[in-house]
Symmetry: C2
Subunit: 281 residues, 2 copies
């Protein structure tokens, strides 16, 4: 075929790329559904990342409730079925617009199936820290933390191309088959393309690290059943510190918490998820 | 008026009371909405307790998805407006029934307004504990922990009549204006009427203690914006151990976690909530 190369973006498309393009609705149909495109870059082992899907839904919610409610404050989602990469649609229903917050229901459908349903409370996020019992972990400098590769034996993680994840070597023993047994991963995370973090991006960051269960010697996939994220501050520019911890594994399910700090050491988001897991007998 | 006293229950009504009656749908209307009655006993300072509302919604979800999915596994809800005590309705939409889990959307309406919307993932809960990084706190014996009263100066808490909450004296300094400053409350909780705990009740238990902020000297109401509960095991009979902790207060909002153990010391539920708060200037 002769024609313009799809690799050459038109000028108006070149402005937004990466995370912003991957979470942008591209059209609205006659029923009000938003068309979205699930980006193959935001995959882990052939599945769309749960945090990415939450961020995409959060963006649709924030756009629907109006600019008086500029950020996702609390977003929770249940994962019904794993969507394929490619076209999908989002239905947004504004549930309430109040004085300080607004709520929207968001439903992601792909391939004729409901895939993710959640609710997002939106609002402003401003004001000082009054109490903090979630101290930022001490980490080696970013350059002293090895970056996780896109490809490792048996696993292809495109997500690690769009996010530069540099983990504390103390939590990387599992790479050599020597997990610490503490159930915790922590490190520096930033967008590979230089985009700075914002509240929407934080919805993705609370589910961006490998499973904390890798540090327990359990290397299987842990499909997210439910993910909740609280955004606590607008992050400063620069790399984020992300810590993921396995709290509890029982009844074939993992309870995992994730906290995110900005480059000034301020807690900016906290996530909590329940995921499926298979553990050694 | 002459007639049967409403205080005399018919025999078939006398079997179920307390929590079970307070969370039971009483009828289904022609549109499929469930009629419920928000119980005045499950109030705190004139407002219906958020955990109680989550349990009521969880019960409606479990009933709708069918008996292959007997328990709430993960329930999350956003609180839009505070319902009045009295009649209300619940709309349940089954979103998916899968091999191991099913999900339902639940919406509580009262006084013509949507009050709470959430999603509940339901399923079985069985299997051993494989990892536990949430150790049960050591507490004085139940009889050595004072029971919180229904009435204290300026505050009427009917909830403390239906739940016997006995708090560790080490976390009760706030009663005498001497909070410990650690932001943690913990104690024994059981139904006052002898009902044993079950997974549905755990949805209420993750929001049953006074705000952990009392232990920080902040005594205002903390209205729940979002509450998520993961049920981790079917609890054994006997009193529960409940610990509520203020993780972070900023931007006028409180991030609070709550863990619940059964009488054998097994973690049975974990909750996480974001609530509004006013802190001293």
């Amino acid at each position: 075929m002769i024609g313009p190369s799809p690799a050459t973006p038109r000028p108006e498309e070149a402005v937004i790329a990466g995370f912003d393009a991957a979470t942008a609705p591209t059209a609205t149909d006659v029923h009000g559904s938003l068309a979205v495109h699930l980006d193959k870059d935001w995959q882990v082992g052939g599945k769309q990342n749960g945090g990415y899907l939450l961020a995409l839904l959060g963006r649709c919610a924030v756009a629907a409730v109006g600019e008086q409610y500029p950020y996702p404050v609390a977003a929770s989602a249940h994962y019904l079925s794993a969507p394929e990469q490619g076209p999908a649609e989002v239905d947004v229903t504004v549930l309430r617009t109040g004085r300080g917050t607004a709520q929207a229901r968001v439903v992601l459908r792909a391939g004729g199936r409901a895939c993710v349903e959640g609710v997002v409370t939106c609002g402003a996020i401003e004001g000082d820290v009054w109490w903090d019992d979630v101290p930022v972990p001490e980490l080696p400098s970013e350059q002293d933390c090895p970056r996780l590769p896109v490809d490792s034996p048996g696993l292809h993680v495109p997500l690690l191309g769009v996010l530069a994840e540099r983990l504390d070597p103390a939590t990387l023993g599992w790479v050599d088959g020597k997990p610490s047994g503490r159930g915790e991963l922590r490190g520096w995370v930033r967008f590979d393309d230089g985009r700075e973090p914002d509240p929407l991006a934080l919805l993705a960051m609370v589910d961006c690290l490998p499973p904390a269960t890798f540090d327990l010697g359990v290397y299987g996939w842990v499909p997210t059943l439910e993910l909740t994220c609280y955004v606590r501050a607008v992050p400063a520019p620069g790399p984020l510190v992300v810590r993921q911890r396995a709290r509890h594994i029982a009844a074939g399910r993992l309870d995992e918490e994730c906290d995110v700090w900005d480059s000034t050491g301020r807690l900016v988001a906290s996530g909590h998820q329940l995921a499926g897991i298979r553990v050694p007998g």
